[in-house]
């Protein structure tokens, strides 16, 4: 399995578009921009709901309403961030795939955070109907923020694990 993955990464890095991308000095920042703009939409809309679950902010709206109103741009943001992230990955796939920080980020933290995120969206309506925000909802909101901070920390640490 690991060998197959490594072969895929080798192939990906040597596709024409990935080589054009890593060989170009002007294109790379635009791909970073794509990744970051997508993340802004994704995290802005996700954390808005999480903070509301924690009881922060101006409590004039139910969080299920916030969550549903932002749902479309939440996932558009994710799709943009994922596409940008995949392109950044492709430029040096074999190095990323053996990098401990990258493996922690994409292999462990990201799937867990996504499961939690979908659970929050799924439960928002039920949590809203309770007289008080349940403790589970508050914990879930805080946990999601901490997960994304951990993911950002893992991403920032990728460079420290290069060539190890």
């Amino acid at each position: 399995m690991n060998r197959l993955l490594l072969q895929f990464c080798e192939w990906l890095q040597h596709t024409q578009w990935a080589m054009d991308l890593s060989g170009s000095t002007w294109a790379y920042p635009y791909v970073q921009l794509t990744h970051f703009a997508g993340l802004s939409l994704w995290l802005g809309t996700s954390v808005a709901v999480d903070l509301r679950l924690l009881g922060a902010g101006r409590k004039r709206q139910a969080f299920a309403e916030i969550s549903e109103g932002l749902l479309v741009w939440n996932w558009i943001g994710f799709a943009i961030a994922f596409a940008g992230g995949f392109m950044l990955f492709a430029t040096a796939a074999p190095e990323f795939i053996v990098n401990s920080a990258f493996r922690l980020k994409v292999g462990v933290l990201l799937p867990l955070a996504l499961v939690l995120h979908i659970a929050i969206q799924y439960k928002a309506r039920a949590w809203d109907q309770a007289a008080h925000t349940p403790l589970a909802a508050r914990i879930a909101g805080l946990a999601e923020i901490l997960f994304w901070l951990a993911i950002a920390a893992a991403a920032a640490s990728i460079t420290y694990f290069e060539h190890l």
Binding site: F36, L41, G44, E65
Partner: protein, 159 residues
């Protein structure tokens, strides 16, 4: 320039610069607050343009993004200042960094106008065309801010 030299060698800044953990925390918070700041503004811009949360009132959408936007702005500015201070003498003369600051200043002005206006525009029967134009300029400026930010290390290998 003297101020930059002094800043770089203050006890707090050297403590952050010399600690891998501290400087990583500042960097992570800078990125994270950027996402919160830009994301919350983009949603208000998109709502005014009629592209997001159309069933919700624009004033309501701006209201629920208000705290996140200001928290993001304050945290982003504070961590950005710490990152600048760590290498102030290099950033001081960096042209691309100057462009980045100018674009951000414009983006903050337009973002502020849109956030401030959304409360009134939301109560009108339809969003005025001028408001949509402002929202579009704000959206473009915030995207340009991220681009200017990633171009600093890319074009000048600083940061």
């Amino acid at each position: 320039m003297r101020f930059c030299e002094w800043l770089e060698h203050t006890a707090l800044i050297t403590a952050i610069t010399n600690s891998l953990v501290m400087s990583t925390i500042v960097e992570v918070l800078h990125y994270f607050s950027l996402f919160l700041l830009v994301g919350s503004i983009l949603i208000v811009d998109l709502r005014l343009l009629g592209l997001a949360a159309r069933r919700r009132n624009a004033a309501e959408v701006a209201d629920e993004m208000f705290s996140l936007m200001w928290a993001g702005l304050v945290l982003n500015f504070a961590t950005g200042f710490l990152l600048f201070a760590g290498d102030a003498t290099t950033f001081y003369g960096n042209r691309v960094f100057h462009v980045k600051l100018a674009v951000i200043l414009l983006a903050v002005i337009f973002g502020g106008i849109v956030q401030w206006g959304a409360g009134r525009w939301g109560r009108l029967p339809a969003i005025p065309i001028g408001a949509k134009l402002l929202a579009f300029v704000s959206l473009a400026l915030w995207i340009a801010s991220i681009l200017a930010a990633v171009e600093v290390p890319s074009l000048t290998s600083v940061g």
